[in-house]
Amino acid sequence: MADKTEKFDTLEQKLELFIENTRQMGIIVSDFQPQGQNVLNQKIQTMVTEMNEIDKLRTQVPDVHVPLEVFDYIDQGRNPNLYTKDCLEKALAKNEQVKGKTDSLKRFKAMLLLELSKVFPSEMEMYRALKQGRGPT
């Protein structure tokens, strides 16, 4: 577990460095000065190096599965934690729904047995005996 978090931490650090470098390049480019050409060239080379480093880290995180729906949340500029929240809400609602169904079926079974016992008393006696493993009387 600790190993996994370490891998994620290094990947996160590399990504942050890459983003920071790109941001700095953006600032240089947005109001370019002639003396900034050398700095920009350095930044481009750093960018390539950092891309290589990130690419190497790909092998360390091969078993990470991300639900595709999360991408939709991110693409819409929404917090991906909302996806987790929605999933929990849905799971809870479904859980409650299924519990309601099973409880209803249990109640239905009890009522059915009761009513059947009224209409077919001897048969139900036999049935109960069978269910209890005594065999038909």
Binding site: E16, I19, R23, G26, I27, V29, S30, D31, F32, Q33, P34, Q37, L40, N41, I44, Q45, V48, T49, M51, N52, D55, L68, F71, D72, I74, D75, Q76, G77, R78, N79, P80, N81, L82, T84, K85, L88, E89, A91, L92, K94, N95, Q97, V98, K99, K101, T102, D103, V119, F120, E123, M126, Y127, L130, K131, P136
Partner: protein, 239 residues
């Protein structure tokens, strides 16, 4: 035309007569009993009293499947120890914006990705070229990145657009009276900052005025014998 249509024998097509479709499962259809249990059929003909015909077996006599450890009726949040996550996400208010999840990311990331063609979906749908080695750029290749001096047009200055942080604003609200926080937040959302400033200014101004008045009084006492007391007072008020 009606003759053209092939009509199968009604006796064969009837679902009741088809042993494969229906009869094999129905206790009404006579079959060999492999279970050795009770062979009974309940006839519920309309207008007649229900009768039991000993021809098939009860469905209910079938063995009940073993009860699973987890079913839909078990509290799955409890079972998987997810109560902490549940409380974390559902009891606390999660901020809607993506910038709340990635606060250190530069640029405006709350806008939809389709707008600036930066959506993650496009990465899946149009997979970029991968597998090629990334090499350092040569001197001649870098010459392609030689830029002209001067600022970029405004529409391309994406890096300067930072997300607006509202933390400071909220802190200001907390400083004010607790009872009025709800009202303040409502007015903030509708009108923006100026409303809050209006509510706070009088307090500060009152305090300042009180302190200034005290200073004035002190100075008056000190400068009772000075030649131009009004001028001195005037400078005090302005400072």
């Amino acid at each position: 035309m009606a003759d053209m249509i092939r009509r199968p024998d009604p006796m064969q097509s009837s679902p009741r007569s088809s042993p494969r479709d229906r009869g094999s499962r129905s206790p009404a259809y006579p079959r060999q009993d492999s279970s050795g249990t009770l062979k009974t059929t309940i006839s519920l003909a309309p207008g007649k009293t229900p009768a039991v015909i000993h021809t098939g077996s009860f469905y209910l006599v079938k063995d009940i499947p073993d009860e699973a450890e987890i079913t839909g009726s078990t509290n799955l949040l409890n079972y998987y120890n997810l109560e902490h996550s549940y409380n974390r996400f559902l009891n606390k208010k999660v901020k809607e914006e993506l910038s709340a999840f990635l606060p250190h990311l530069p640029g405006n990331i709350d806008s939809p990705g389709i707008q600036d063609n930066s959506s993650l979906r496009s990465l899946i749908e149009k997979t970029p070229i991968t597998g090629k080695e990334l090499t350092q750029l040569s001197g001649s290749a870098l010459s392609g990145f030689r830029l002209h001096p001067g600022p970029l047009p405004e529409q391309y200055q994406l890096m300067n657009q930072m997300t607006q942080k509202k933390k400071r604003h909220k802190k200001k609200i907390k400083d004010s009276e607790k009872g009025s926080t709800l009202q303040l937040s409502q007015t903030d959302s509708a009108t923006g900052e100026p409303e809050t400033k209006k509510t706070k200014r009088p307090k500060k101004e009152d305090d300042q005025k009180d302190s200034k008045k005290k200073r004035k009084k002190d100075k008056k006492k000190k400068k009772k014998h000075s030649p131009e007391p009004t001028a001195a007072n005037g400078t005090d008020v302005t400072t």
